[in-house]
Symmetry: C2
Subunit: 289 residues, 2 copies
């Protein structure tokens, strides 16, 4: 049982975590902190949080658990603000989509409290945001990756893992650099590509003619282009090196396909499509839609 949970950033991710723990009876009191007062008021009305704090430092002074669910670029300043105020037994975790930069920020700011910080990444993003998007059950069957530090006591890691499991999540452990390389490929690159396609078409004088004829394939393909610009600015900058490498590999792959097409090599294209289809149908888990 967590006596006092502080959620910094009460949006889809932070709000849903609070709602699940409340529903399971695992938390007594929740305080919300964030940049948008209206969003926090909404979160209180919706029963996600009990109280609003004016600053993170003030909120954490008697906290048992702190979740940072904010864009990764905003983490260093929050770590700096809360470090002096954190009670010794308080555990801190985060929900950032990149891990090496968050770990580096924690190392630079948390001092002798570093061992109490368990880096995490719930894979349950959506193109919706804000407290109104939060819901109990969001994490059911969703993966949550923890990237523990050498300084973490195993029992502290278990505490965080157990809370995510109580939300219905499937918890696994990874090294931060491995995490960032994998997610550059399976998440950050697809977001860049979806943003690129939407922005390319939106800038054309006859854009609405294109959008009118967009079918369900286009809508699914571009769904993630509805994601939050600031969040994705921070993720792409935080994971710049791995993401540039993925973009280079992907641009080379696309250029190769373009040349197969231009030269009329239909057999090579069909073989490439067949390899892609085989992998999509048989190697990617989860519902096909």
């Amino acid at each position: 049982m967590i006596g006092h949970l502080v959620v910094v950033g009460v949006g889809l991710i932070g709000g849903s975590f609070a709602l699940d723990l409340r529903k399971q009876g695992l938390v007594r009191r929740v305080t919300g902190v964030g940049r948008g007062r209206a969003n926090l008021e909404k979160a209180r009305q919706l029963g996600i949080i009990d109280a609003i704090a004016d600053s993170a430092a003030e909120a954490v002074a008697d906290a048992d658990l702190v979740l940072l669910a904010i864009p990764v670029g905003a983490m260093p300043a929050v770590f700096r603000a809360i470090a002096p105020a954190l009670p010794p037994a308080c555990i801190v975790t985060d929900a950032g989509s990149t891990k090496q930069d968050v770990v580096a920020a924690a190392r630079a700011t948390l001092g002798d409290k570093l061992g109490r910080f368990i880096p995490g990444h719930p894979i349950a993003g959506a193109e919706t945001s804000g407290a109104e998007a939060a819901r109990a059950g969001l994490y059911q069957h969703k993966p949550v990756i923890l990237t523990p530090l050498a300084e973490n006591a195993p029992a502290t890691v278990d505490t965080i893992a157990d809370l995510w499991k109580a939300c219905g999540a499937q918890v696994s452990l990874m090294q931060p650099d491995r995490h960032d390389h994998v997610f550059a490929a399976v998440s950050h690159l697809p977001h860049m590509v979806a943003f690129a396609l939407m922005e390319e078409l939106a800038g054309r004088p006859d854009a609405d003619l294109y959008f009118q004829h967009a079918g369900s394939g286009f809508r699914d393909f571009t769904r993630i282009a509805g994601s939050h610009p600031e969040m994705w600015r921070d993720i792409s900058m935080a994971n710049k090196e791995a993401l540039v490498a993925e973009l280079d590999a992907f641009i080379a792959k696309l250029s190769g396909m373009r040349n197969l097409l231009a030269s009329g090599d239909s057999a090579a294209l069909e073989a490439l499509f067949a390899r892609a289809r085989e992998a999509r149908l048989h190697r990617v888990k989860g519902r096909p839609h």
Copy 2:
């Protein structure tokens, strides 16, 4: 009422058209033609067709309506085969995803029956295929584009439009070249991109590690990479010129984003993401998921 409908290619598209017309009582008898005997037997078991013909020429000899629902690369041979056998009053239409190449094939083969050919494109593709994927109701609220020829009598165009409307589809008219340019951007390019990403990752030695961590965003983004390789080989080849131009524009856009990222221009990236998001949320019709 159509006395005798011949469907060449009894898969998702052709089979669903037949099922809808049967359900509406708009067709008396349906004959299926195709390359795969087992698929045609399945279609007969499922009540999609009444009879199987060994050749398209034989099947169309007493047909009132012929639907060609086959990869566009297979259309010229079928047009050539059926042209001499088509009864004078028989209407022919197709469901090809490209229109200029299909129109050119019809012009080269149908002779004085060209006026009875109404080119069409139902936008209801999926990554499933075969007779088992067919279902009544597939076309409900789906767009169907007809690209009539100067040689078509308006009444013949209306007959085909009315049949699609009876299936619940929303019918609109376009020029074939306009059609092919628009679909190069909103359909053919996204398919190339999804195939490229899946093939790129599938070829890595640690591919399964990537696929294990794929979330719902990745699954939606790559859904269309499960599409039929031969169909997409034909579409990309048939619309080569427009698709190469779209690939060039898209590669240039992605390269520009890659350079913004590498140079750390986070403000320009965020502005690009914001333009993409705005267009995705407010200019693309249909359900967000």
